[in-house]
Symmetry: C2
């Protein structure tokens, strides 16, 4: 089954909001064997919506829209698409009652705002896609030739919830037993190596492995390798992906930290958990990003004790016990200070593992000897410590994010080497 | 001037990468008076690229692409678009020399990988858009009817740099004095109020003010209000926006924390800096996100001393001095503990302002009395303290991000009230 996605909103087209919905939706559809063949973004104007949705209906006959279902006047999706199908609009009392009940249940003050009443308007002949995650109901509209448009809200959490609750079951039921083949992808995650050097390392399988395309996807956290199987039944696709991933993994070697959507923070937490180790962080230039990465993982509290954000040198001395003479002799961004921070936070919090970051994130603060991008990360595992200086290029945000990733990778490697 | 954007890549279409480039590019173009009228995303196949770019050329005659210029085999943008223009490909020795020099200058091992040589291939008659931020050069291709395609790389940092260095000056020179009118937008940022309640508060100017559309943009950090002036000369547009923003600001009142791209963290840092105050953070459920927000701002080191990530109760006791009997009596997620954390981190780091967060981010850990989403934030300004329990709904990520925003807003309000 092929579909097109049309995301709607001036804020998307003019760039005030990044379109995260289209990516999320495409991933979920692909996992269900449904291929997104084109995506378009248009503004809030009714004629723009009608033209993009109309073209997609002509090409593919199956369209999912996001956005433009909210309570305000710039939300024109339902009316524009109803007009495209030659349908009028009607007030749905059931939806209106639901909106009123939801307002009251949250304890919000006053009556349901008048603006929300618009959300209870539906195209004639439409089916409601129930929204358990917000106020805007979704809409399914289909013509007598079987061409359809599914309208989902633009708020990411609501869109995600409705895709799982309503859209995917509906599309699955439609496809019935006819979907004999699937599109499945598998991703291998690497870090600490440049994209082109990784391609050279992969050699003859850098472009394709066992007939499957290999996509190389560089990002802040490293380079991902993604292979995609198409045109196979589900079992055959899984077997081909297993074999392809194994070949890539062997070539990429120690730079691989996970597959699928593995977050390196989750990999590190699992490695600690396996050893019944606790972890504590000491952060200078990242200011909490490393702690934020680790604690973003649900259930991290059995491993993460906490840490110290040692942005000023005084905090490095008083809360982490970094000797002032070491700071004076080597400067805050140095191997000895990184090691002292890791040991210090481990001791202060009574953790098995201490991990530290100190660096020059810029744009100011760089010197000839220590330019912007100079970062030291260190780890101390029960008294055995090491430090590295990852090669980092980029702006402040990129340097900080790559530094946090480099620190996590150092912990991963230190724990793995301990097992040898 | 109208343009269309085509972003290229299986990883975008299949949703493995979120398309941040399109938003960034659209914002920069709008600021230069160039309107993006449609955006499309296609996969890496040559026919998909040619069809989307060809349709956009027919409609608008001016197309910017991102992606597909990298060193690997799935990078087919240049060849596909050259074919669309009926042009062949040639090796550019100057680009090749530049790639070799760049490789050597970085101290990367060995010779330039063979894969990188592909990046030195150019369509005949093309103009190079110089890339000072990475290895993939951009390309400008134009036909004898004046229709053009500008090809930029997909790596966000490179795309941003080349847009500023090469594309905008080139488009500016093309437009010459003809661009008599501009599109300008202005944004007002609010937090701590539901989108529909904000619309009710705005009343008759919720949808449009002085003839300019008002867009309501809800997000993790609050609801932004954006007004856009079109069809006016630059001076008149600025005057209309000034007046419109002033009217919205008056109605939205204390919920407004800034305009434009103001980050609430930067607003808080400025408020501290004005008073020569330093700040320290104490974070439980956010695990470093608040510190990460504050230190993301360049130059934050004159205000931020650091903080304590007190994920476990032992850290709350030992590093923040939260009395164990308070933890036992009220639980870690409570007003007294939030207040003790804020006071504790202020005392421990010797800061003027202490700010704290404790909450249940989920998915586990909720109870009937303290369900997932229960969060307390507190601030202590030189001994004067207050705490609030922001109303937070969402998943773990959303709860943590909204909690950090709520804590920043509490600091903003506390400092402003101090002035009265």
């Amino acid at each position: 089954m092929h579909v097109e996605i049309v995301t709607i909103g001036d804020e998307l087209l003019l760039g005030f909001t990044v379109d995260t919905n289209a990516a999320q939706l495409a991933r979920e559809l692909a996992a269900a064997g449904i291929e997104v063949v084109r995506r378009a973004t248009v503004g809030d104007e009714a004629d723009q919506i009608a033209s993009a949705v109309g073209e997609a209906l002509e090409r593919t006959g199956a369209v999912i829209t996001t956005g433009g279902l909210g309570p305000t006047a710039d939300d024109r999706t339902k009316a524009s698409i109803a007009a495209l199908f030659g349908r009028g609009m009607r007030l749905d009392e059931t939806i209106l009652d639901g909106l009123r009940a939801r307002w009251a249940a949250r304890g919000w003050p006053g009556e349901l705002p008048a603006a929300n009443r618009e959300q209870a308007m539906l195209p004639e002949g439409a089916r409601v896609l129930v929204n358990r995650h917000g106020s805007a109901p979704g809409v399914w509209l289909e013509d007598d030739r079987g061409r359809w448009v599914a309208m989902l809200p633009g708020v990411p959490r609501e869109m995600r919830g409705m895709t799982a609750d309503e859209l995917l079951p509906l599309l699955g039921a439609r496809a019935g037993g006819a979907a004999a083949t699937v599109i499945r992808s598998r991703t291998l995650r690497t870090t600490g190596i440049a994209e082109s050097a990784l391609a050279d390392r992969l050699g003859d399988i850098a472009r394709s492995v066992d007939g499957m395309n290999v996509a190389s996807l560089p990002g802040f956290e490293g380079t991902d390798l993604r292979i995609t199987a198409r045109g196979l039944a589900a079992d055959a696709a899984e077997a081909a992906l297993d074999a392809g991933i194994a070949r890539l993994r062997e070539r990429a070697g120690p730079f691989v930290y996970g597959d699928g959507a593995d977050d390196l923070a989750a990999v590190v937490l699992d490695a600690c958990r396996d050893r019944r180790f606790t972890i504590a962080v000491a952060e200078s230039c990242t200011g909490g990003l490393l702690g934020g990465r680790l604690t973003a993982i649900p259930g991290s509290s059995d491993v993460v004790l906490g840490g110290v954000i040692a942005y000023s040198n005084a905090v490095k001395e008083h809360l982490l016990g970094v000797p002032p003479e070491v700071l004076a002799a080597h400067g805050a961004v140095s191997e000895p200070v990184a090691l002292a921070m890791a040991a210090g936070v481990r001791a202060s919090l009574g953790a098995d593992v201490g991990v530290s970051i100190t660096g020059v994130a810029g744009p100011g603060g760089g010197t000839a000897e220590k330019p912007v991008g100079t970062v030291w990360v260190a780890v101390d595992v029960r008294g055995r410590s090491r430090a590295v200086r990852p090669m980092i290029v980029g702006d402040r945000d990129e340097i900080r994010r790559r530094a946090a990733q480099g620190a996590l990778d150092l912990v991963r490697r230190a724990l793995a080497d301990d097992d040898r």
